[in-house]
Subunit: 254 residues, 2 copies
DNA sequence: CGTGGCTTTGAATTACATCAAACCTTGTGG
DNA sequence: CCACAAGGTTTGATGTAATTCAAAGCCACG
C-alpha cells in the first residue's frame, strides 16, 4: 500500500506478445498422442476420438509468448502437449500472482461467461491442442463422459488451489520453497533416485510470484537450503533434491 | 519456521465437536425450497426434482460444530439452506487457512477420491441439505444437466480461489480487508444503500485466518478504516460501508 | 455480577521487502 | 571466436509491515 509500484514492474522484463501464435493443421493422429492418457481426451475411446480430432488445431508458442489474457473472451480450451505454461493475475500496479504452472497433459481454459479468469503465458517453448468451445460443447450431449472428465479436472484444480491458499496465507518462505520443489518433483517425476535432479524451467521471478515472495527472498532461501545440504543447485534451472525427507519436514511446517 | 506453534493455537478456542449433527427427515418440499433457484437443484425442473427429494436429508449444525474434517471419506455433498459455514485447512502445528465461507445456496462436498480436501465447520446455526454421493451420482446419467451444473459451480469456485490467491500472495493487510468487506457485501447483498450495513457473523480470528493475517492486524486495520471514515463498526459483527468507493480503490491496490 | 472468551490497544520484535550493487549467463555482432 | 550488452541471479545493507508478546476492555451468559 505504501511501496512503489514502478519498482515492482522493473523486476520483471516485459515479454513480447507476438501478433499471433503459430497455428498448425489438425494433429496427424490423436490416437498416437503422447499425452492422450492423461488429458481430458482419455474420456473417449479410440473410435469416439474422431469427433475431437475433427475440431482440434495444434498451436505453438515461443517462450514468453502470451496465449490469452485475463478477461479475453474464452473462445477456446487447450491441452498442453509439450512445454510449460504459467497462469497469472495482475493487480493494476503490476503486482503479479502466478496461480499455476501447467505441464504436458494439463488442461486450461475452464472459464465462466466473464472470459478467462487469468492470463496464460509460455515459460518454455510450448505445444498445445486448441479446441473451440463453440464446437466442443455440443459434444457434451453425445459424450457426457467428457463433461464428467472435466468435472474431475476442475475438482483436482480446486484441491490444488486450496493447498496453494494454505501455502500463501500461512507458510514461511522456507516452507513455501520446500513445498514448491516437492510438488514440482511430484508433477514432473524427476529422474535419478535417490537424489532426483529437477528441471526448474521458470525464472526466480516466476517462482517468487507463484509463492508470494520476492526474487531476493527466493534466491536467499535457495542459498540457505544449499548451505544446509538439502539441495544442490548446479545452475539456476536445475535443483538436486539431496535430502528429500528434510524438505518434506520443512514443507509441512516442522 | 521460527515462531512458536503453541501460541498460534492459543489464539483460537477449541470448538466442541458434537457426536453427530442433528439429521432430520426428508425436507417437506424441495419445490418450496427458499434457495432452490441458486443451488445446484436449479438444474432440475419441478418434476425431475422428485429424484433429488427422494435421497435428501436435512441436517442442522450448532455454531462451532464440525460437519466433516479434511481427509474424511467424502460420503455426502451438501447444500447450505441457512446460516454460514467455514472451510479450512490446518498445518500440523495448528496454523489455519480458511479457504472459504459458504452462505445459503452454496454447495459443498466437491472432492476427489482422497476424501474431503478441507474441513467444514458451522460459523452460525446452519441448515443444510445432505445428499449421499452413492445415490446422487447415479442420477448424473439420467440428468446430465446435474453434472453440467456442478461443473459450473466448480468453475465459479475456481475463479474465486484464484482471486483469493492473488489476495493472499500480493495484497497488503488494508487491501485484504477492503476486498473481504466488499466481497461479503456482494455475496450477501447488504441492506440500506447508500451506507449498507453488513452482518459479519465470523470472528476476527476467522477473518484473520481467511486473509492470511493475525487477529491483531485485522483489528488494527478495522480501526484505521474507522478513523478514515471508510466504515462504522457499531459492534464487532456489524460493519457499515460508509465510503464504498474508497474501499474499492483500496481493494484493487490504489 | 463475576468469569471466560472475544476484541482492542500498546510496545517490541522479526521475517521479509526494499534498495543497491556485484556477479553470472547467454546470445550477438564485430 | 571473442567482447560485450542485457537479462537474470546472487549477495549485502537497511527499512518496515505485520507478527509476537502483553495486557487491558468489553460483552454475553450462567
Amino acid at each position: 500500500m505504501t511501496s512503489d509500484p514502478s519498482r515492482r514492474l522493473s523486476q520483471r522484463t516485459e515479454t513480447p506478445r507476438y501478433a499471433e501464435p503459430r497455428v498448425g493443421a489438425a494433429i496427424p493422429m490423436c490416437a498416437a498422442c503422447e499425452v492422450r492418457e492423461v488429458t481430458f481426451c482419455s474420456a473417449l475411446n479410440e473410435h469416439e476420438l474422431a469427433s475431437i480430432q475433427a475440431i482440434v488445431r495444434q498451436v505453438r508458442l515461443a517462450p514468453g509468448q502470451t496465449l490469452f489474457q485475463e478477461g479475453d473472451e474464452a473462445e477456446n480450451v487447450f491441452n498442453v502437449v509439450g512445454g510449460v505454461i504459467k497462469l497469472y493475475k495482475l493487480l493494476r500496479d503490476g503486482r503479479r500472482q502466478i496461480t499455476g504452472f501447467l505441464f504436458p497433459g494439463d488442461f486450461l481454459g475452464i472459464a465462466s461467461r466473464d472470459g478467462y479468469s487469468h492470463s496464460a503465458e509460455a515459460v518454455t517453448a510450448v505445444r498445445l491442442c486448441r479446441f473451440p468451445r463453440r464446437r466442443l460443447e455440443p459434444l457434451f450431449d453425445r459424450y457426457p463422459k467428457l463433461e464428467h472428465r472435466l468435472l474431475g479436472i476442475a475438482t483436482d484444480e480446486l484441491t490444488a488451489a486450496q493447498d496453494q491458499m494454505l501455502l500463501l496465507g500461512r507458510k514461511t518462505a522456507a516452507e513455501k520453497l520446500a513445498s514448491f520443489l516437492l510438488s514440482l518433483e511430484r508433477r514432473i517425476g524427476a529422474a535419478g533416485e535417490p537424489a532426483p535432479s529437477l528441471s526448474v524451467p521458470m525464472s526466480r521471478s516466476d517462482v517468487a510470484d507463484y509463492l508470494g515472495l520476492t526474487v531476493e527472498t527466493v534466491s536467499r532461501t535457495f542459498g540457505r537450503f544449499r548451505k544446509l545440504g538439502l539441495v544442490d543447485v548446479p545452475d539456476a534451472h536445475t535443483v538436486v533434491l539431496r535430502r528429500r525427507q528434510g524438505l518434506e519436514r520443512i514443507a509441512d511446517g516442522d
